[in-house]
């Protein structure tokens, strides 16, 4: 059901854990639905210098969170906003169809984190 890459990211999640000195946190999902993702970012010169996550959810939710952090690290905020669910799923060599939506919330979490970060500096995504 899950690809080898999904299994790898599930078993060895990259950039896992709380970030005490995060510049922003994006929270998405809902424990009632079985998935909750928090994305922590550190930003310098509009570049994501560090990123981490905490996730309550199934293997797909954990693996997509992990993959997202790998994809986003080092990207500018503008580039990072372009990361889609589809791109994450493809980088993971695919997800089971039933998991494509509900458990693939990591990109949303990153969006929220970036918005929060921009908000703190009085900007919106349009200003990037």
């Amino acid at each position: 059901m899950y690809s080898e890459t999904v299994k790898d990211h599930f078993q060895n999640p990259r950039n896992l854990g709380e970030m005490k000195d995060a510049d922003a946190i994006g929270k998405t999902g809902n424990p009632t639905c079985g998935d909750l993702i928090w994305i922590y970012i550190k930003v310098k010169d509009d570049i994501i210098t560090d990123i981490s996550f905490k996730t309550f959810g199934c293997a797909a939710a954990i693996a997509t969170s992990s993959m997202l952090t790998e994809l986003a690290k080092g990207k500018t905020l503008k580039e990072a906003l372009k990361i889609t669910r589809k791109e994450i799923a493809e980088s993971l060599e695919g997800l089971p169809p039933i998991k494509m939506h509900c458990s693939n919330l990591a990109a949303d979490g990153l969006h929220k984190a970036i918005e929060e970060y921009l908000g703190k500096t009085g900007r919106t995504v349009e200003d990037l």
């Binding site: 896992l16 424990p31 009632t32 639905c33 079985g34 909750l36 309550f56 959810g57 293997a59 954990i62």
Partner: protein, 389 residues
């Protein structure tokens, strides 16, 4: 590969080797059809009749009751509900069931609602036990059938089935008992209960898949749902799966004979499993009734983590388990059984259904209770819900 430890017998039992041995001649040597008049046909007819007796004996039925072999418990439940409702429609259109029935009960009832029937679903208490007062109150003069499980396959709770049967009996309402999860696990006696219909599954008795039975007691009329050549006393058409039926019969006989020994064996393993898991980890709780529960079932929930993830980590270490988490269901909805018991939705996602089988040993339990805590710990460390604030 790691040794595999199956703690997911609810998903399927291996066929008992004595059962398989008894079935084998019916694939190639005795492949007669009970409909044939010649010797091969008569041999098949006898084999099927013998299997009926083995079913009769397991559940204390009467030789005059009809044992209709089906393709499984799902078909037997569909036959019991749709076949009974259609046949007895002029007597009334109201059926009472519980909130925690298997989908092979709830979905046929939804279908019947579309056909003009009314269905009342009785709630359960926090242990998953059907509320008897609500059951009594639900009876109307249009009620034609109770359909109630003996035990819940998911959380293991055994309902007070004799009391339920007495309520049905006092109101003169026929009772259908889904005994799939209980038969072969605890004593089941259809005569004592006075039930009219009972569903059994072969594989839950360590017989082959693809076979089940509906027991129809004398005086109960149903109409068939699979129509054709009129096999199984006209109640279930289709060439008989003789090898499968023979297998279910043997499985029933063994299940009856070894019931006490299995109860002892499984209860011991189960009690240790529940105790070790729920006491050694915090935020860890038993689902279902603490004492009125199936000997093979331990349903345990772990706050702040999701069940599919636990299941997968366990499977990497060779343990096969199931979860009530929505993430593994076809509908992506959390278990209706846990929700009905009042378990919080987020918590419901973290439930593991551990179902033991005859092949499990103390060593399996040893390994499991060693393997589980680090996995739960790791997943909690990943979870934004933990530590709880």
């Amino acid at each position: 590969m790691v040794e595999r430890v199956n703690l997911n017998h609810a998903a399927g039992n291996p066929v008992d080797k004595r059962v398989l041995k008894g079935m084998l001649p019916y694939f190639q040597e005795f492949y007669g059809n009970p409909s044939s008049v010649h010797i091969a046909g008569r041999h098949a007819t006898k084999a099927v009749a013998n299997a009926r007796m083995q079913i009769v004996n397991l559940v204390g039925a009467d030789t005059k009751d009809r044992i209709v072999f089906t393709s499984g418990a799902t078909e037997a439940n569909n036959l019991a509900l749709i076949g009974f409702a259609y046949r007895n429609r002029r007597k009334g259109n109201h059926i009472i069931t519980s909130e925690v029935e298997h989908l092979s009960i709830l979905n046929p009832l939804k279908f019947l609602v579309k056909q003009g029937f009314e269905v009342t679903q009785i709630p359960v208490d926090e242990h998953g036990v059907i509320k008897l007062e609500a059951l009594k109150e639900a009876i109307t003069d249009k009620t034609v059938l109770f359909s109630v499980q003996h035990a819940n396959n998911e959380v293991g709770t055994i309902h007070p089935i004799q009391e339920i049967a007495d309520i049905a009996g006092d109101a003169k309402i026929p009772l259908h008992v889904d005994a799939v999860a209980s038969a072969g696990q605890v004593p089941v006696d259809i005569s004592d209960l006075g039930a009219s219909l009972m569903t059994l599954s072969s594989n839950d008795l360590y017989g082959p898949r693809g076979v089940g039975a509906l027991i129809i007691r004398r005086g109960t009329s149903i109409q068939p749902i699979l129509l054709g050549g009129g096999q199984e006393m006209g109640l279930r058409s289709g060439s008989e799966n003789v090898s499968g039926i023979v297998g279910m019969g043997i499985a029933a006989e063994i299940a009856g004979k070894e019931l006490e020994a299995n109860i002892r064996h499984l209860t011991k393993l189960r009690d240790r499993l529940i105790k070790e898991v729920t006491t050694k980890m915090e935020y860890t709780y038993l689902n279902g009734h603490p004492s009125h529960r199936l000997p093979n079932n331990a349903n345990i929930r772990f706050s702040f983590v999701e069940g599919e993830a636990i299941t997968l980590y366990l499977s990497f270490e060779g343990f096969l388990v199931a979860t009530s988490s929505a993430c593994t269901s076809r509908t992506l909805e959390p278990s209706h059984v846990l929700l009905s018991m009042g378990v919080d939705e987020a918590e419901a996602h973290g439930a593991l259904q551990l179902t033991l089988g005859r092949d499990n040993t103390e060593t399996h339990i040893d390994h499991f209770i060693k393997a589980l805590p680090p996995i739960i710990k790791r997943l909690r460390e990943m979870s934004p819900l933990y530590p709880p604030s």
